[in-house]
């Protein structure tokens, strides 16, 4: 349709507009399609991104640093290409041949521009995954995969930052995770795109500002799931170096289950979901922590009370001890005294008993002796009497002798004594006679 052609139909144009038309859009779309299909067919080189195989066609984007083109291939052609080159996947550098195409759409279907691919070959070096792997190794060699992991994660942060898109589920999931921990501190929301070419610089800037504020203790970078292509921004070298050197710990939750992004590797913690990231940001359960503190307070109080009470009791018992000891000693001494006295009494009684027995024994013996003596006495007396009688001077006198005595009664036994005595008494058995000595001592 040229600019000189008159529009069919009778719709009026925009007042004041110098442009031709209005043309029915379907006609314009058909013309566009014709125009685009007339473009020269070419070969293009770029990376496969967002590969998706549908029922009738295979769709992907071909990207490089300068731009991208949406591509499509009929399934039959696609399967032939696959058979020739082996696997085709996101990140592969390929050369495609084809031309522009435009699906004009309809009242019930969307139009779409695409580069219609009829053939393809793999371009060799430039595999996206390989590039990411090389960068990972480089960062590792510089020690940048470990720096964040050495940062202490606060058990109870007061301010948590969250880098995520303003729409999307990640925001709500983080809030749910924090609520599960019973945490209600301060959240700083740093909204940023999370999947296009603007994402990496925006996230980098946000993290730098958050760390520089000095008020944020931990940052979460959260995104819901997606293909690796969607998450390429989290493999951006500048972003990853910034995170590695950041002063505050970063918890990554970019939701990619099968491939790790570089952000997962450099971050302090890598989580599978934003909810887990929130729980990693607040490791303790605040409700349980409060209960534990109450329990500890009670135990502390009980220990303090026990310590004083037990010592007071001990002191009291020690105070009582000397008096009790004295009382025990006194009681013991009294007992000993009683026992001693009793023993002494028993001993005295025993001695007395013994003494009486002895006395009795002696008396018995004496009685015996006396008895014996009494029995023997008459005979003894008789013997003695007989013996005595034998010596009785009277007996001598009776035998005819005379006892010569002085007048004073002294016995005279010699003639000389008789002459001296002159006066003598002669005792005969029957009586006495006085005598005078005629002779003198001359």
């Amino acid at each position: 349709m040229s600019e000189q052609q008159q529009p069919s139909g009778s719709a009026l144009g925009i007042p004041g507009s110098a442009l031709p038309g209005p043309y029915p859009v379907g006609e314009y779309a058909a013309a566009l399609q014709r125009r685009l299909r007339a473009f020269t067919r070419v070969q293009l080189i770029g990376e496969i991104v967002n590969l998706r195989v549908a029922r009738a066609r295979a769709y992907f984007e071909l990207r490089d640093a300068g731009g991208a083109v949406p591509c499509a291939a009929w399934l039959r052609d696609w399967e032939q290409m696959l058979a020739r080159v082996g696997a085709l996947a996101d990140g592969m550098q390929v050369v495609v041949e084809g031309g522009c195409d435009y699906y004009a759409g309809s009242a019930s279907s969307s139009p779409a521009f695409s580069f219609s691919v009829s053939d393809l070959r793999i371009a060799g070096e430039g595999d996206l995954l390989a590039r990411i792997e090389r960068l990972r190794k480089a960062l590792d060699a510089e020690g940048l995969l470990e720096r964040q992991k050495r940062l202490p994660l606060p058990a109870l942060p007061r301010t948590i930052a969250v880098v995520c898109s303003q729409s999307g589920k990640a925001r709500d999931d983080v809030l749910a995770g924090l609520a599960r921990r019973g945490w209600a501190g301060r959240i700083v929301w740093a909204y940023a795109p999370v999947q296009d070419r603007y994402a990496a610089p925006a996230i980098t800037r946000a993290l730098q500002d958050l760390a520089a504020s000095g008020e944020v203790e931990v940052a979460i970078v959260a995104r819901g799931g997606g293909s690796l292509a969607d998450l390429l921004c989290f493999c951006d070298e500048t972003l990853c170096r910034t995170v590695a050197l950041l002063a505050i710990p970063v918890i990554a939750s970019v939701g990619h289950h099968t491939d790790r992004t570089l952000l997962d590797d450099v971050a302090a913690v890598s989580c599978s979901t934003p909810t887990h990231a929130a729980e990693a940001a607040v490791p303790i359960d605040c409700g349980q922590a409060r209960a534990a503190l109450a329990n500890q307070t009670e135990r502390l109080r009980a220990n303090a009370g026990r310590a004083v009470l037990s010592r007071a009791r001990l002191l009291a018992s020690l105070c009582r001890a000397p008096a009790e000891q004295l009382a025990r000693q006194r009681s013991s001494l009294h007992q000993q005294l009683r026992e001693t006295r009793a023993a002494a009494r028993r001993r005295v009684a025993m001695e007395r008993e013994l003494t009486w027995r002895r006395l009795a024994a002696v008396a018995g013996k004496a009685d015996g002796a006396v008895h014996d003596a009494r029995a023997k006495r008459p005979a003894e007396l008789a013997r003695l009497a007989l013996a005595l009688d034998a010596h009785d001077p009277q007996r001598t006198l009776q035998r005819g002798y005379a006892l010569v005595q002085t007048s004073t009664g002294e016995a005279v036994g010699t003639a000389a004594a008789a002459r001296r005595a002159r006066e003598l008494l002669l005792r005969f058995a029957d009586s006495s006679v006085e005598a005078q000595v005629r002779e003198t001592d001359e």
């Binding site: 500002d209 922590a289 010592r311």
Partner: protein, 75 residues
């Protein structure tokens, strides 16, 4: 900042637990008991304060607002 205040929340909580274990053992003298109880009470108050700070209403603000506020304070 006293020794107790320099400790992180988790270190303070761990120290309280360690104090209580020591007291439960019954091996501490009276003087040590009283000192440990005093230290424990201070640490518990510290932890309770930290918990209190994150127990009220959730406060939400955007990074732009935070930056603007900090710049205003700096001026």
């Amino acid at each position: 900042m006293s020794e107790e205040q320099k400790l992180s929340y988790e270190d303070a909580a761990a120290r309280v637990e360690s104090i209580i274990r020591r007291l439960d053992s019954g091996e501490a003298s009276l003087r040590e008991t009283l000192e440990l109880v005093k230290e424990g009470k201070t640490l518990i108050e510290r932890c309770a304060g930290e918990l209190e700070a994150v127990s009220g209403e959730l406060e939400e603000l955007k990074l732009d607002d935070l930056v603007a506020r900090l710049e205003a304070q700096a001026r």
